[in-house]
């Protein structure tokens, strides 16, 4: 792995932390934005993990395809693609709150059910490449 790749992974990890932290500041009446920011956090985490195994992506189609076709990502496919699909509709639907699953009342619910499994599932790929410690943030 090149130094440039390692630097790119660190940047994605910083952005993952940034989005994860921001999501926890969003008021509960903006659940559509909560889920979109959580999705952005997941996306940067996935990108960091993909670079760690030698795959660089820049758009949703190639990223989703990489997640679907690489066995290293098998354990996080459902969570990531559920987040992707929920995010797609809530960004453009005129009544996005009605589309969100009822079980996700708070950011903590979203993190616990969709983001943490992704972090736990592919965090070790990143850990091997840049010595990253998984889940340094609360919630």
């Amino acid at each position: 792995m090149t130094n440039a790749d390692k630097q790119l992974i660190r940047l994605h990890i910083e952005q993952w932390k940034h989005n994860r932290k921001f999501a926890q500041t969003i008021d509960g009446q903006y659940r559509d934005w909560q889920v979109n920011v959580i999705f952005c956090a997941a996306l940067h985490f996935i990108d960091a993990a993909l670079i760690s195994v030698g795959i660089t992506v820049s758009e949703h189609t190639t990223r989703n395809d990489a997640v679907r076709t690489n066995e290293s990502f098998a354990s996080v496919r459902t969570q990531y693609l559920n987040l992707y699909r929920i995010s797609r509709v809530t960004r453009y639907d005129p009544d996005p709150d009605k589309w969100l699953p009822e079980k996700y009342l708070t950011v903590a619910d979203l993190v616990e059910d969709l983001l943490k499994p992704i972090e736990n599932g592919v965090g070790q790929l990143i850990g091997k490449s840049i010595g990253f410690e998984s889940l340094p943030l609360k919630g």
Partner: protein, 159 residues
Amino acid sequence: MTEASKIPSESTPNSDCGIPEIHAHESHRKYKLIDLDNNAVERTAAELVEASKLLSNRNLWLANFSATIKRVREWCNGVENLMQMALVDIRSNKVVFYVVPKSERYDLDLGAKMTMLEVELGGSAGIGYVETLQVPSRSLERFAGPRSLLVWPLTPQPA
């Protein structure tokens, strides 16, 4: 159809069966194609070879698309308790299957099954990038668009 056989060139008739050969490396060489209405079109050898490949690919794509629709219908039958309908939209860079759940909200269980379908189709469909998207029935037109085709159910359900 082609004047290739009249032109003395590297594109000489095949000695085995008399079929004129057009070689892609003759990129400079032009051929005149004349259709049944006597309209003439000039194309280089490289263009003719590429067009032939596209024609073959198109036929293969259509066959694979038809097989994919059959597989998606089978999948829909297996999750009919969770969904209202499925549509397909052929985009320039991907094929999108829209899945409308019975639930008014995003159905996480149906989403998990959609992921399994995507994994299966991604490896075998042979029609390029395939994506599934779960959309609410109330906003179906916003996402699916007028060119989308109904995939399932085969007989529209009464409202």
